[in-house]
């Protein structure tokens, strides 16, 4: 399998008397090529899970495995993307896409070739020499995806990559990401607030509780067209899945 959490908890010790437990006893597995989403209330530790998978910090208890290797630090298996595109404003788009390859000893010509290939996959042909400020928000996120794919990671981590975009751009980008990721056959972990997005894009959804976050439900989405969220969107079952998620998040009780 591609990713496994075994009994993972994470405490943040900012105040020694009262450590804050972000997530508690998380167990799950993601198979190779699977697209799994994590939904949960704000502050329940979703981004913490992403950071631990990327190896940016260590779990307090338990272990994280990526491609059967225990994660002890940043590693070449994962690529991640945030709500912010994190493009370097002083680099052209193509050189931004090359960024991740530079620390891996890939030669200059090979870097450029890989970057141009991902640029085309992400439909950014002709924009290679533009600078980030000259691109729209949606195009910038596509460039960030191209940069993530360029290092050919085994797992892609996405932390609310569409939440800063307007509704239409969001739909188009979900579709374009869904297609690109399916074509590349990448294992993906998507963190999102948007229940519909989770249903449209995933094979499986994990629902986290309030902080300290633990997994309270797991929903398998048995719908076709994972690679084309726009097509999946019109299926009648989508609203049923969304309603189920809605129930697990206890949103109705909170609204009272």
């Amino acid at each position: 399998m591609a990713l496994e959490y075994r009994g993972v908890s994470k405490d943040f010790v900012t105040n020694p008397d009262n450590p804050l437990t972000a997530v508690r006893d998380i167990n799950f597995r993601v198979e190779e090529g699977e697209f799994v989403s994590i939904v949960g209330p704000s502050g329940c530790g979703k981004s913490t899970i992403l950071s631990m998978t990327a190896g940016l910090y260590q779990p307090t208890r338990g272990e994280v495995f990526v491609s059967d290797e225990r994660v002890v630090g940043p590693n070449a298996h994962v690529g991640f993307m945030l709500q912010k595109d994190l493009l370097l404003p002083w680099r052209s788009i193509v050189s931004n896409i090359e960024f991740g390859l530079e620390a891996r000893g890939v030669g200059k010509a090979a870097r450029r070739e890989r970057a141009m290939k991902e640029l085309r996959h992400c439909h950014l042909d002709g924009f290679e020499n533009h600078f980030p400020y000259q691109l729209s928000g949606g195009m910038r996120q596509r460039a960030a995806l191209a940069r993530t794919l360029a290092i050919d990671p085994e797992i892609i981590l996405l932390d609310e990559p569409f939440s800063a975009l307007d509704a239409q751009t969001k739909l188009l980008l979900q579709n374009s990401f869904g297609g690109t990721i399916a074509a590349a056959g990448k294992t993906t972990l998507l963190i999102t607030h948007d229940l519909a997005e989770a249903v449209l894009m995933s094979d499986r959804i994990l629902v986290l509780s309030e902080r300290p976050g633990t997994i309270v439900a797991e929903i398998r989405i048995d719908l076709p067209h994972r690679d084309q969220p726009l097509k999946r969107r019109v299926l009648p079952e989508v609203s049923r899945y969304a309603a189920e998620l809605f129930g697990h998040l206890k949103l109705e009780e909170k609204a009272l």
Binding site: A54, P74, N75, V78, L88, W90, G100, E102, A103
Partner: protein, 277 residues
């Protein structure tokens, strides 16, 4: 953009204003600026004599021009100017290099920044030019004191700007670089250094104007070369026109240095979106 061109279907990129009104506005401000200059020069030429202000208090424009010619041929104005310009640039280069290096080093070590910050603050507040007589006592009447004053005065704005920028580098960018397994040096070179460049350039621009002050004070206090020396010499002879001219040349040195830096900055920071007018 002419009407004909618009009718021909030429596309106007959004946000670009029609050329003609743009250049008109530009010429308008230029004309107004030149008008104010002309008015000022006229007032300067005719008002003091009309009010019976003596020449050694406020010389007129023409007095200054006559004096300028005399200074050029008899006081070696050109070589004094070159000397001042040389030490301004040298002091600026040394001071800002030291300031930038110190800013980056402290920016990488929270510990040393905390340890040193009270002293840095104290030194930053201390009036650097007041050190000039001390430096003369220590090093004698040579170029060293003015160079040291300049280095000292240039150092702080550059260091503080760089340090401030290092503190505010986007953590997520650094994490991204860590996830891509960049080394500490790689993170500095590819993330921190370029992120802090706008602040560094702003610090250099401030420092360039201060560098002229540093050299001038050094020359005023001791020595026999440079525009600062001409100022104290002219002052001693009650030759106000000479002082005026020296100040003018000092200002020119500052403007040249500042303009060069602003140009370099524009070139280097081309990737920052320009504010619309």
């Amino acid at each position: 953009m002419t009407v004909a061109a618009q009718q021909a279907g030429t596309r106007v990129p959004a946000g670009v204003k029609p050329r003609r009104s743009f250049s008109l506005a530009r010429h308008g401000t230029l004309l107004a600026s030149l008008g104010i200059l002309a008015g000022f020069l006229l007032l300067w030429e005719f008002l003091p004599p009309a009010l019976d202000v003596p020449k050694f208090i406020i010389p007129t424009v023409s007095d200054c021009l006559v004096e300028l010619k005399r200074m050029w041929f008899q006081e070696r104005l050109f070589s004094h100017t070159m000397s001042t310009a040389f030490y301004t640039v040298l002091g600026f280069a040394i001071g800002s290099a030291l300031g930038a290096v110190m800013g980056y080093l402290l920016g990488m070590s929270a510990f040393w920044e905390k340890v040193l910050s009270p002293y840095i603050l104290a030194l930053q507040i201390a009036p650097k030019v007041a050190f000039a007589p001390l430096f003369i006592m220590w090093f004698g009447y040579n170029a060293m004191p003015k160079l040291l004053v300049t280095v000292l005065i240039v150092f702080f704005p550059v260091m503080v700007n760089v340090l401030q920028a290092m503190r505010t580098v986007d953590r997520d960018l650094v994490n991204l670089a860590r996830a891509y397994k960049l080394s500490r040096w790689g993170i500095f070179r590819k993330i921190e250094m370029p992120s802090t460049l706008p602040n560094l350039m702003a610090g250099l621009r401030i420092a360039s104007t201060l560098a002229v002050i540093g050299v001038t004070v050094g020359e005023l206090v001791g020595g026999n070369t440079g525009l600062g020396f001409l100022i104290s010499y002219g002052g001693g002879q009650a030759n106000a026109a000479m002082v005026f001219n020296a100040i003018l040349f000092l200002t020119l040195i500052g403007i040249v240095l500042y303009t060069v830096l602003a140009r370099v900055e524009e070139k280097i920071l081309h990737y920052l979106p320009k504010a619309e007018h």
